[in-house]
Amino acid sequence: MKALVCVKRVIDYNVKIRVKTDKSGVETENVKMSMNPFDEIAVEEAVKLKEKGVIDEIIVLSIGAETSQETIRTGLAMGGDRGVLVKTNGQEIDPLNVGKIIKYIFDKESPDMVILGKQAIDDDCNQTGQILSSLLDCHQATFASKVEVNDDKTINVTREVDGGLETIKISIPCVITTDLRLNEPRYASLPNIMKAKQKKIDILDINDLNIDIKRRVETIEVSEPPERKPGVIVNDVDSLIDKLKNEANVI
């Protein structure tokens, strides 16, 4: 089987986000970027399936600027086989358009499964996997916390849902989005980092794909979250209850 894994380059989760002075978005210049953590989990899952002998080839796809190659390279160092970059020119891409681009690559590569993070930590959209599965008209399993491929190539996916776990069976081709507890992504070892340098990354220009990437969503303004007000220390339980009742109005 063949897996397509999608990875997004996002601002590293350790960095404090700064809003651009014109409030058009967040500052990314000279800011540390990393692979979206949920996508790391997606890569790890594919590599695990490959180690189990279920998958033969892992393609790591990213849509973004030239620098997203570095993110793909990290995926290759973790165990991906080859990469594809759909190069953008700095424009924002809506989830629907991301879905369309992934579908384009899907049609070219015919993978048996697409694995992606349930959401990216920058825009928190949580839509791409779902949109993709409807564009592909195939099964989807979102928020996966366990993935097991059966002998007949159907896949049992355990999902984290409100109130517990749900296990569903889907058939290929399919879309799986990963949740936090699916696995612990490995560190790329030095030998694998060296090997990744030799792996191929194909670069496609977004303009050559003949896909309408016009934005349907307009960002009006991006602003900083309000500053947290300092807390107070209460002397005893009674004054705590009093404050909760009369100041915070929560009980």
Binding site: K16, N30, T74, A77, Y187, A188, S189, L190, I193, M194
Partner: protein, 561 residues
């Protein structure tokens, strides 16, 4: 600086000043080169007799000699800091943080060179000691340089630097290479997840770093970095080694120091070993199957290693080794000792020494030395825990002739010296990692702790410390990476490597001290990791050439040039 400017204008002014005056920085370096030449000829005059440098005279003028080593260390460190910035600027990667650090480093170090450099807290080398006249530093009085100094030392710059840190922005490391950056990233993650949460517990319990962690490090390739590919290693070079070492040491000094042993033994064998020895040992060291330990120091010979007295006597096809060694790091949990011993008792100094590769069964805490003829006891230490140090006795240890390094007698000291470049670079990188650790701990505490109704980071005595720490950590890192690059390009860099070790060790200690000070009383509590970092940082000025010895090596190198 125009005092009517508000803070953000001042920052813009400083940033613009740096970016439009890089020639000025260059000119300062040129002027310092002339000053340095003046000091050098003054010194040469003092320590030479009949046109040759005399060791006796050099010893007599040790303060000045070592002082000149420090002066040159500063000059080269500034040069490399400027190169760091210029490269970043060319790549469009420099920000106000980097330009702030650059101008601060130049202003501060220039002032010290002009008035006095702290070789240690209690020894200051003054320009007059080096025969440098006031006149020689008159270039500092030009309006441009004066302005640079004023801007560079301003509180505004320091505050701006620290505000960047507060927001999670640290200065660019200057790796400028995708692979190296990925290595840094992966080892940062590994360190944050596997080392940092446990380091203090390992330290407080005086535990060995657990076997599982060692195994993970082997799998990541830590021990194979510098070993050539045809011997099972990765052949990645010293810059990669520095990146990995700094990251691991940032979590726990011993984690970054496990690789040192592989590095020393690996270099000894790679450079001095026979083909058979290389084939036998290098792949096993690279895979982490064989852990090595360096057995050189003796109770009566530390810095003066050439005078050691452990004997190795030829007996048929074997050597019999007898003697006492001390301060042997990772002496128990290791499989191969590199033992320096005297094969020729007629030769008093280093000429009679040979290096042996001595296999030994791996010990553990309960049974540290499960080998006949080998015994020892643990030395309890302040810091640098995680591998344990031992004093050991070697009693008639029999070693095959085949285990004499290079199968040649009398080459031991020379073979060891050939590894010094790498070991010093690696130790400098460890010191940079420790300094970074101190910086991060100090920063976090300063952000979290409030007194007098505000976060203490807002007090200038606190942010000045942090700005200094990040500035000096950067400077030390750049001279370290410079040496590593030279080494990777096969350019001799023993002097620069010595300078990097000298400076980085001092920086690690002062950063740790400042970070502890920022913690106030809590810094003195064992529970807070900064207390460990203080203990750990202290060793860096002692081993791999104590600070005095390192300065001696640098000055001898400089005068020999």
């Amino acid at each position: 600086m125009d005092s009517s400017l508000n803070k953000s204008d001042q920052i813009v002014e400083t940033h613009n000043f740096v970016n439009t005056n890089l020639d000025l920085f260059e000119n300062i370096l040129n002027s310092l080169e002339s000053v340095s030449a003046e000091a050098k000829s003054f010194l040469k005059e003092k320590v030479s007799s009949e046109g040759k440098v005399s060791n006796q005279l050099l010893e007599k003028h040790q303060h000045e000699g070592h002082g000149y080593a420090w002066f040159e260390t500063y000059r080269i460190a500034l040069r490399e800091t400027l190169n760091w910035f210029k490269t970043l600027k060319k790549l469009d990667k420099s920000t106000k943080l980097e330009s702030g650090i650059l101008i601060f480093s130049f202003a501060e170090y220039l002032c010290q060179m002009r008035s006095g450099i702290m070789m240690s807290q209690t020894e200051i080398i003054r320009p007059e000691n080096l025969g440098i006249s006031n006149q020689s530093f008159s270039f500092c009085d030009s309006p441009d340089v004066a302005k640079l100094v004023k801007l560079g030392l301003s509180e505004t710059v320091k505050l701006e630097i620290v505000e960047s840190l507060e927001n999670g922005f640290f200065p660019n490391l200057g790796l400028n290479d995708e692979t190296l950056e990925m290595i840094q990233d992966q080892f940062k993650k590994f360190t944050d997840e596997e080392i940092v949460p446990n380091a203090n517990e390992w330290h407080l319990k005086d535990d060995l770093i657990p076997d599982e962690v060692l195994k993970k490090m082997s799998e990541l390739g830590v021990f194979s970095i510098a070993i050539p590919e045809n011997y099972g290693g990765l052949g990645m070079g010293k810059v990669a080694m520095c990146v990995v070492t700094e990251e691991l040491s940032r979590g726990f000094l011993a984690a970054g120091s496990l690789g040192t042993r592989a590095e020393i033994a690996g270099e000894l064998i790679r450079l001095g070993g026979t083909e058979e020895q290389k084939n036998k040992y290098l792949p096993e060291i690279a895979s982490g199957n064989i852990l090595t330990t360096a057995v050189f120091t003796e109770p009566n010979t530390g810095s003066d290693l050439g005078n050691l007295s452990t004997r190795a006597q030829l007996d048929g096809d074997s050597y019999i080794i007898n003697g006492n060694k001390t301060w042997i790091t990772h002496g128990a949990r290791s499989d191969l000792m590199t033992v320096l011993a005297r094969t020729d008792s007629n030769q008093k100094g280093y000429r009679g020494l040979s290096m042996f590769l001595v296999d030994k069964p791996r010990g553990n805490c309960e049974n540290p030395f499960p080998m006949e003829g080998m015994s020892g006891s643990e030395i309890e230490v302040l810091g640098y825990r995680g591998m344990k140090e031992y004093e050991i006795a070697l009693d008639s240890i029999k070693v095959s002739k085949k285990n004499l390094l290079g199968e040649e007698e009398g080459k031991g000291f020379k073979q060891l010296m050939e590894t010094f470049e790498s070991a010093r670079i690696q130790t400098a990188a460890r010191a940079v990692g420790v300094s970074q650790n101190a910086l991060e701990l100090g920063l976090q505490y300063a952000k979290d702790r409030s007194q007098f109704g505000k976060s203490i980071i807002k007090f200038s005595r606190i942010y000045n410390k942090l700005a200094w720490m990040v500035m000096e950590t950067t400077v030390a890192r750049q001279i370290t990476l410079f040496s590593a690059r030279e080494k990777d390009n096969d350019i001799r860099c023993d002097i620069e490597a010595g300078m990097a070790k000298l400076l980085a060790a001092r920086v690690a200690w002062s950063s740790a001290d400042s970070a502890l000070q920022i913690h106030g009383g809590n810094g003195y509590a064992l529970e807070y990791p900064v207390s460990r970092v203080l203990c750990d940082s202290r060793i860096l000025n002692i081993f791999e050439g104590a600070a005095e010895i390192q300065a001696q090596i640098v000055i001898k190198g400089l005068l020999g040039k």
